[in-house]
């Protein structure tokens, strides 16, 4: 086996292993966040006597609060490197992207810095969310009643 071939083989195999590992880590960390969401909602409903919809909103806000604080302290990125998509796909990723763009563009002024860049990354989520929801709701309403 030549050296080139060997290196190629090594590269292929390590990449595969990493992908598998990454997927597993994302699965686990995402799952743990899902567990916490379920537990928090139940706690809010039992202790604060909230309705289901209010408890769900409070649960979302709690996660956003934690994510924003962690972003402010600068440790969210390190956590993402460790736990990957388990933190990015839940609402925490959305909150952290807003908080980090706010912090990054702080020096450029309150309007042109903070205001103009706050939804730099999260804007795509809001844009395509609203556009797709609008079209689908319209289709459903008009054609299916």
């Amino acid at each position: 086996m030549t050296e080139d071939k060997y290196l190629k083989l090594v590269k292929e195999n390590t990449l595969k292993e990493n992908t598998l590992k990454n997927t597993f880590i994302s699965f686990l960390s995402g799952g743990v966040l899902g567990l916490m969401a379920e537990a928090l909602t139940n706690i809010y409903m039992k202790i604060l006597y909230l309705e289901e919809s209010s408890a769900l909103t409070l649960m979302t806000i709690t996660f956003i609060f934690i994510a924003v604080i962690l972003t402010g302290l600068g440790s969210f990125d390190d956590l993402v490197k460790k736990y990957r998509f388990g933190l990015l796909i839940p609402i925490t990723g959305f909150a952290s992207s807003v908080a980090s763009s706010l912090m990054d563009y702080k020096n450029e002024g309150t309007i042109t810095g903070l205001g103009a860049n706050m939804f730099k990354l999260a804007g795509a989520v809001i844009l395509y969310g609203i556009v797709s929801a609008f079209l689908l709701a319209l289709i459903k309403g008009v054609f299916y009643g």
């Binding site: 994302s26 699965f27 969401a37 979302t60 990015l88 959305f94 912090m103 969310g129």
Partner: protein, 115 residues
């Protein structure tokens, strides 16, 4: 059992995102946008509503954002037609967006970027 479903569902969604990211050139922004659209399509097909009743964890991933947008928009349409669509699009997601903006603003005033 609800805890188990929450764990599995959120876990699988994050695993799918990880697989897409590792095997394509899409960025994280592409993937989250894609997931929001998938969420509203699942809501449109009535699937998200069914699985939603299995656990509260289902409300955490970004897919539920698309689903919530779709549901409140459709609710508004049923109540007052096309105008209702405009009026109630953000009804349920408003909590999340407002919290993000307020907390993010406060934190950006207090904290400085690490580097």
């Amino acid at each position: 059992m609800r805890y188990f479903y929450s764990f599995i569902f959120v876990g699988i969604i994050c695993a799918i995102a990880s697989i897409i990211y590792d095997n394509s050139k899409l960025t994280i922004g592409h993937i989250t946008s894609l997931f929001v659209i998938i969420g509203s399509i699942l809501g449109f097909l009535g699937i998200y509503d069914t699985i939603d009743s299995f656990g509260y964890g289902f409300n955490l991933p970004i897919t539920s954002f698309g689903n919530a947008l779709y549901l409140s928009a459709y609710q508004g349409f049923k109540e007052s037609g096309v105008l209702g669509l405009f009026m109630s699009m953000l009804k349920t997601t408003s909590g999340g967006i407002t919290a993000t903006v307020i907390f993010g603003f406060i934190v950006s005033l207090i904290c400085k970027p690490k580097d």
